[in-house]
Structure formats: C-alpha cells, structure tokens
C-alpha cells in the first residue's frame, strides 16, 4: 500500500505542452507513472512523447480513465486548472505551480469544500510512492520503497531528508510535499490521517517550517489519535522575524509561529524533534527501533 498514488494512478498533465510540463511528465513516465493524457487549450491532436493532448480536462476524461491530475499551468491560470480538474471529478489533484494569488486560493478551497477530491499544493514538489508512482518534480532515484511516510511543507529540504532516510536504510511508503503557501489544499493533519490508515506506513517524518500553525495543529492531532511514531524537523530557527523566507507562508512575527515554539509544542505532544538536519536519517532510525 501507500497513500494517494500507486500502480493504479492514471494521470492527466494540465499544461503538458509547456517546458516544465513536458520535462516533468517525461521524468514521471520514466519512473513508471502512467501519464495517459495531457491538456493544453487549442493543442488537441498533438502528442508529447506519445501522450495525446486535449483541449479540456473533460475531453481527456472522456477518452481515458483518469483519476489524478498534475498541474503545471502558470499562476494566473492555476486556480482555473484546479477547479477544472475537480469539476471532472478527479480524486487527486497535484498543483506544482507557485505564485497563485491568495484570493484565488480562497475561492478554490471554498469550491473544494465537501468535494470528494484531494488537492496537494499549490507551490509544492508533488508526491511519490517509491517504486510505484511519481506525480511530482522530485528526483526519483533518491527514493526507496519502505515503511516511512514523509510529509513536508518544503521541496529540496524533503529531498535532503529522503536521501538521508534512504542512506540510513529506511525506504518510504509515500512522500508528500504539501506546499509552502499560506493556503494549501492538504494540511499535515489531512495527510497524517491517510498515513494513519495505511498499513505499509510504520512511522512518519514531518518536515515543518516557521509561520502559521499547521505544525501545532498536527501535534494536537498526533497526540490525540495518530497511532505511529512521528519524527519532526522544523526549518527556520534562525530566521529573523518579519521577513519572508522564500516560502510565502514562512514568516515569523512577534514571537508567533517561531521554530522554537513549534518544536516545543511538538515535543510536548510526544513527537521526536530533530535539532540538526544532518542527523535526521540516523535519528529516525534510532527513534523507530
């Protein structure tokens, strides 16, 4: 098992004919992901590495069995693309695009309320179930199948962590980058609930960062009802207040949303917190032994 994506995942790539879209679709296919269609308005009839292109998601879904979308369209069209995918009743929507206006996301998230569909991102690397399926932009080769679920607000930092896990002999069930924006489709808690129900996930590594309260909410959920060990790292202990640290959501201010506070809260809720990013692989190994 794994969460959200596996051998049965069948993907449409929105924005397939773009530079990013075609590059990453190719990488995903090389990893074994079944990318069955692409969508770029006005480019129906074209192919990208043998994948047929359609004008609309609806058209693509009429021609193929599709359950997942991977979105690369530019920020100004991304809200539209997410709603288009949800309207076509795709169950997993992965939005890589960064820079979506927050008011667009307000409407998109309200639209998704109550719909049977899970949005991952935006502004995220996507997700991978090692050995089965990759729907994202992470480097495939650093991953190995195994018992660790990974969930993270960050991109490359997740690669760092996964690389260490793999080198420590700890493969991953699924790695999910939930994205660095203030408004995202799936929170730590949403993903933890899926890991809770996944028999193949034995422990979870959660990579947080400064800003917001997502880590604190996760801590409460974990203490109350998450049945597996959680190891966590929080980036940004030395970030100065009031500055935006790359991620739109990663800002601290007035003693709130600090890494120190988050780490303290996580520890209080029984979560193993790693101080030195260089040791997260070995510490995870020790923690779950």
């Amino acid at each position: 098992m794994s969460i959200l994506i596996d051998e049965n995942t069948r993907v449409v790539v929105q924005g397939l004919t773009g530079k990013e879209g075609s590059f990453h679709a190719r990488q995903c296919m090389a990893y074994g992901t079944r990318i069955v269609a692409g969508v770029t308005p006005g480019k129906k009839g074209q192919e990208v590495d043998g994948v047929p292109v359609y004008n609309t998601v609806r058209e693509a879904c009429r021609a193929h069995a599709i359950n997942t979308s991977l979105i690369f369209v530019p920020a100004s069209f991304a809200a539209d693309a997410i709603v288009e995918a949800a309207d076509a009743e795709l169950k997993v929507i992965v939005c890589i695009t960064e820079g979506i206006p927050v008011l667009d996301m307000v409407r998109v998230l309200r639209y998704l309320d109550g719909k049977d569909c899970r949005l991952i991102g935006p502004n995220c690397p996507g997700l991978i179930s090692p050995g089965k399926c990759k729907v994202g932009i992470m480097p495939g080769p650093i991953h190995r199948p195994g018992p660790i679920g990974v969930v993270s607000r960050s991109g490359t930092l997740t690669y760092e962590v996964v690389d260490q896990l793999t080198k420590a002999g700890l493969g991953q069930s699924t790695c999910v980058g939930i994205g660095g924006d203030p408004l995202i489709g799936s929170t730590f808690v949403d993903i933890l609930k899926l890991f809770a129900a996944d028999d193949d996930t034995g422990a979870v590594v959660m990579i947080g960062e400064i800003g917001g309260t997502a880590e604190e909410e996760a801590a409460r959920y974990i203490k109350e009802s998450f049945p597996k060990p959680v190891i966590s790292y929080i980036a940004g202990r030395t970030a100065p207040p009031g500055k935006r640290m790359g991620h739109a959501g990663a800002i601290i201010s007035g003693g709130q949303g600090t890494a120190a506070q988050k780490m303290e809260t996580l520890r209080q809720h029984g979560i193993h917190v790693v101080e030195n990013i260089g040791e997260i692989g070995t510490e995870t190994l020790n923690a779950i032994r």
């Binding site: 927050v102 667009d104 307000v106 932009i137 993270s152 490359t156 030395t238 790359g246 201010s253 030195n276």
Partner: protein
C-alpha cells in the same frame, strides 16, 4: 487569529499611507483631504490647495509607530506646514517598528486635521486557518491589533466572509452594533464597510487596515490612517501598482531583478542554496556551527546556470562575507548546471574568501568534476554534518 494578520501582511508589497488613501478614496472610503509632498515647497502648495488649517504633516515610511518617533506633527497654518515638512523630510525616523537604524523619510503626507471624537480599528485580511477573508474591528482604535488581541480580546470583533455570499448585511450589523456606534451613523458605517471590503478584492490586498477609523466632532466617519499590503503573487493583475514598489535596500532590489529570493542578514557567511526550506535549514546549520549567515539566498528549486551565476556574484560583492557556502540538493537543478553557473560567475573575478561546496543529488559527480577542473579553490563537504564541521573550523 491575530497573528495570522501579521503573517499575511508580510507576504506583500507594502504601500505608503498616502498611496493607500488614494486607493481607498477611489473605492469610496472617506479619507481626509490631503496630498503627498516630497519637499517643503510642495508641502506648502498642498496647504494652499487645502485652504484653511489646521493641518497634519505625516512622514511616509514603511513602518508603524511614526507618531512616537516624531514623524507626525500638527501644523496650525501654511507656515507651520512648510517648517514641519522641512524638519521631517530627510530625517532618519526611528520608531518601535523600524529597528534602531531607523528609516530615511523622503516624503510627507499633508492633510487637513480633524477634531476626533472616537477612534476605532478596522481591518480585513485572510484568515489562514479558515482560508477566508476576515474583517476585524474594535472600539479600541489607535492600538496595535496584536496588542488588542492580547490584552482586550473581548473588544475584537471578527467576521469571516464566505466567498459564496460575500459580505452580508447582517455582518455589517454585527460589526456596527458590536462597536456600539451611534445609531445615526449606521448607514454611513455600512457604506464605508462595503466599500472598504471591496478594496480587498479590487487590489488583492493581503491586509487592508484603517487605524484609526474615526468619528469626528462633526459626526463624520473618516479613515484617519490606512495601510494596504498587496499580495505579491497578484501583482500581475495590478500592473499600475508596480510603480509604487520600493525595496528595503539595493541588494534586494538587484536580487529582484534577477528573480532571486534574497534577504540581507547580519552575519558573515554568504550562502547560496536551492529551495526555501533547504535555505532555512542551512541557516540553522550555520548557526549550529557557531556562525551567522550574511544573507538568505534561494536560487530556486529549478534554477538555471544564469541564476546561479547572478546569485554567486551578488554574494561575492558583499564585503561583509568572510566565507561562501554553496549547498545544493540537485533535483531539477542539476549539479553540473550549478557548477557551470559558479564557474561563469567567477571567471573574471578574484576570489578572496574561502568557498565551501556541498553538492548532492542529480549529477553530483559531474558537478564536482567541473568545479575541480575549473581551478577554483574550494573545500568539499560531503553532507550536512560535514558542512557544519567545515564552517565551525573556518570561523
């Protein structure tokens, strides 16, 4: 809730008070008559235009608490306006929010002054946890909202807006009756609130704040001070606002030109990393090594050789930098591309500081090989732990 506001206010382009008031007035929110002046002469001309005093002269900087620092002064007549503008323009204004270094005042806002009967706080921003716009109001006007939230939470009224229906009349009533305004002001307040809320969507504000909103002795409602922060991500649909963009310093301005994510910090380790989370983690690692970063520089998860070269040159041109750390986890950005960028950047430069390089991920061997062949003098770190120990030994 309270600090969600602060967060969102920071992922944004800040407007000056006078700019915010231009936009508020455009949407029908009443503001005092006034104009910006960049010199004492201009200030005098504004006073002429406004007619009879008293006036108020307000320093225009991107920081609050201006009154405490002497940046806001009453001026009885035209002569006093010119005199006050003379004092304020060019001053280095230090307020609780500028930090001890203060900010240089280049412009003032000259307005008619009004006798105030009562002050309120009014703001609209995005509530992260509910993913909705939220209106915040308080009868404790003039105070900082975080201070109200902390010390007088019962005075803070919140109305979350559901985008399905928008701001509903009952929510205006919740606010109006909650603020205990005089009944006669009901319709003026409701109109102001509706227009004010519309500003959020009209300009993609991450924060719109009127503090204080006042009732004057003549029973007029006015936005006496205002703050608008524009969502950076939405600027593509508000191109007319781009001319108002100002940078904290020339470093950040130059980085923005290269589309690099650069923040100037106060340490000595120049740092180039790909990915924001990784950059923060690297800062933390530098701290563990007993040093401090001179900057935050994220070239982006998918940077190309040119971005790398620009970023590297930017770091090297900073004289405070005593050591450069390149920490790259190659994903989309391949390590050989990174190496090319670095080599391009330094081909015409003399390097005076030690360089520590850690390459991991896609094509890391080829990248290391390119760097080794380039003649560049650098130390290799194999993993994050080595990064820490190398830096610890260098400082």
């Amino acid at each position: 809730m309270a600090w969600a506001i602060k967060f969102n206010s920071d992922i944004a382009m800040k407007l000056h008070e006078y700019q915010a008031k231009v936009l508020l007035a455009r949407e029908g929110v009443p503001v005092p008559p006034g104009e910006m002046a960049a010199s004492p002469e201009e200030a005098g001309a504004v006073a002429d235009k406004l007619g009879q005093g008293p006036f108020v002269v307000k320093a225009q900087i991107h920081a609050g608490g201006r009154g405490k620092g002497g940046g806001i002064k009453l001026a009885e007549d035209r002569g006093a306006v010119v005199e006050t503008a003379q004092k304020i323009i060019g001053m280095n204004l230090v307020t609780p929010q500028t930090g001890p270094e203060g900010k240089l005042v280049r412009k003032v806002l000259v307005e008619r002054a009004f006798p105030v009967e009562k002050e309120y706080y009014l703001a609209v921003t995005i509530d992260r946890s509910r993913a909705r716009p939220v209106i915040l109001a308080s009868a404790a006007g003039g105070m900082d909202i975080e201070e109200i939230a902390r010390s007088k939470p019962h005075l803070l009224i919140k109305e979350a807006i559901d985008p399905v229906v928008g701001l509903m009349p009952y929510q205006s009533r919740n606010l109006f009756f909650g603020l205990e305004m005089e009944p006669a002001l009901g319709s003026a307040f409701t109109t102001l609130l509706g227009n004010f809320y519309r500003v959020l969507a009209a300009y993609d504000c991450s924060l719109a704040e009127i503090n204080p909103l006042v009732v004057t002795r003549d029973k007029e409602i006015l936005a006496l001070d205002a703050k608008l922060d524009i969502d950076d991500n939405a600027l593509f649909r508000h191109k007319e606002l781009l001319e108002w963009r100002e940078y904290e310093n020339t470093w950040e301005e130059e980085a923005a030109r290269y589309r690099l994510n650069y923040i100037r910090l106060d340490g000595t380790v120049g740092m180039m990393v790909n990915g924001a989370g990784m950059a923060m983690a690297t800062m933390d690692a530098i701290a563990l090594a007993g040093a401090r970063p001179a900057n935050f520089l994220d070239v982006g998860g998918g940077a190309n050789a040119e971005a790398v070269a620009n970023g590297f040159r930017l770091i090297l041109s900073d004289e405070r930098v005593k050591l450069v750390l390149i920490n790259i986890f190659g994903g989309i950005l391949r390590c050989d591309v990174l190496a090319e960028g670095v080599i391009n950047a330094v081909s015409n430069l003399e390097i005076k500081v030690p360089i520590v390089v850690r390459l991991e991920g896609t094509n890391k061997d080829r990248g290391a090989e390119l760097l080794a062949q380039s003649g560049l003098n650098f130390t290799v770190a194999g993993d994050m732990n080595e990064v820490i120990s190398v830096i610890a030994n260098s400082v």
